[in-house]
């Protein structure tokens, strides 16, 4: 099934509030091998001028990925994750994410291009605190290949 051509320019509703915990930041830092104390030790983070432990720079993806998943599951979109390859990603970071932040992401589709049986979907997810402070803008391009036999 080809993607709806009018997807470009669409904005989707914000994700439910995501409570960032110290444990999640530590687990993410462990997963990417970031061994700085500021990811795990609140005292070390405060000594470095932060209110609480600091997330690694790609942590906003956790919230942005939720927005992408909701977008792909939208009845107007209907993309299965297994048919998607991440083709490009960029973060513009306003400030590091800390434990205690409560975040939502709002995803919009910037462009949809077709290339050799693949749809290239350029998205922009804005990550904000529930108080409205922007912490990051995550730009993702997703390459979607319709499964074979389903490309009519």
């Amino acid at each position: 099934m080809p993607l709806a051509p009018d997807l470009a320019g669409r904005e989707f509703p914000p994700t439910p509030p995501y409570d960032v915990s110290r444990s999640q930041i530590a687990a993410f830092a462990d997963a990417v091998g970031a061994d700085d104390d500021v990811h795990r030790d609140p005292a070390a983070a405060r000594a470095a001028g932060h209110p609480d432990v600091v997330a690694p720079p790609t942590f906003p993806m956790v919230v942005a990925f939720q927005a992408m998943s909701d977008f792909m599951a939208d009845p107007d979109v209907g993309i299965e994750l297994r048919n998607v390859v991440h083709s490009e990603q960029r973060f513009e970071i306003d400030r590091p994410i800390h434990a205690g932040d409560v975040l939502t992401a709002t995803i919009g589709v910037e462009t949809v291009r077709q290339a050799a049986g693949t749809s290239l979907i350029a998205t922009r997810s804005t990550v904000r605190t529930v108080d409205g402070e922007r912490v990051c803008v995550a730009y993702a391009t997703l390459a979607h290949r319709a499964p074979s036999g389903d490309d009519a």
Binding site: A27, V32, T58, R82, E92, P96
Partner: protein, 137 residues
């Protein structure tokens, strides 16, 4: 601490990636796309086998940039294209991903750009990978 002078070359640093790392990253990030843990699904969709999350590879590049910059909080921009998949074998050895940085100026004196060359088996796996970081005081 690394001195981020324009023209400097940073690294290389090498990181080993194993299947277990991908499973752990899936859990920590919420990205459970089966192409990152199921050989069956990965080959069904035409991949050479289980591949690393692009975001995992980019996170390793970001880790290198953060260490060079003197802290994760100094990274203000990070991104790349995912040009070649990193196939991760189902063995204990895994694969090695190598990161080299080249420091470039920006139009802001307190920020530099680090152009990141990220390779696996001698082949570039990320395209136009770069971080913008605030410079050490």
């Amino acid at each position: 601490m690394t001195v981020l002078e324009s023209g400097a070359t940073l690294g290389p640093v090498a990181y080993v990636v194993r299947r277990s790392d991908l499973v752990r990253y899936a859990g920590a990030s919420g990205d459970f796309n089966p192409i990152h843990w199921s050989q069956r699904v990965a080959t069904e969709v035409g991949l050479p086998g289980v591949i690393a999350h692009g975001m995992y590879t980019l996170a390793l590049a970001g880790r290198a940039a953060a260490e060079w910059a003197g802290g994760a909080d100094r990274v203000v921009e990070l991104g790349s294209r995912f040009t070649r998949p990193v196939a991760v074998p189902d063995d204990e050895a895994g694969v090695e991903v190598e990161v080299v940085g080249d420091v470039k100026p920006t139009d802001q004196p307190d920020r530099v750009r680090i152009d990141l060359t990220v390779t696996c088996g001698g082949q570039k796996v990320l395209g136009q990978a770069r971080a913008v970081v605030t410079r050490n005081a």
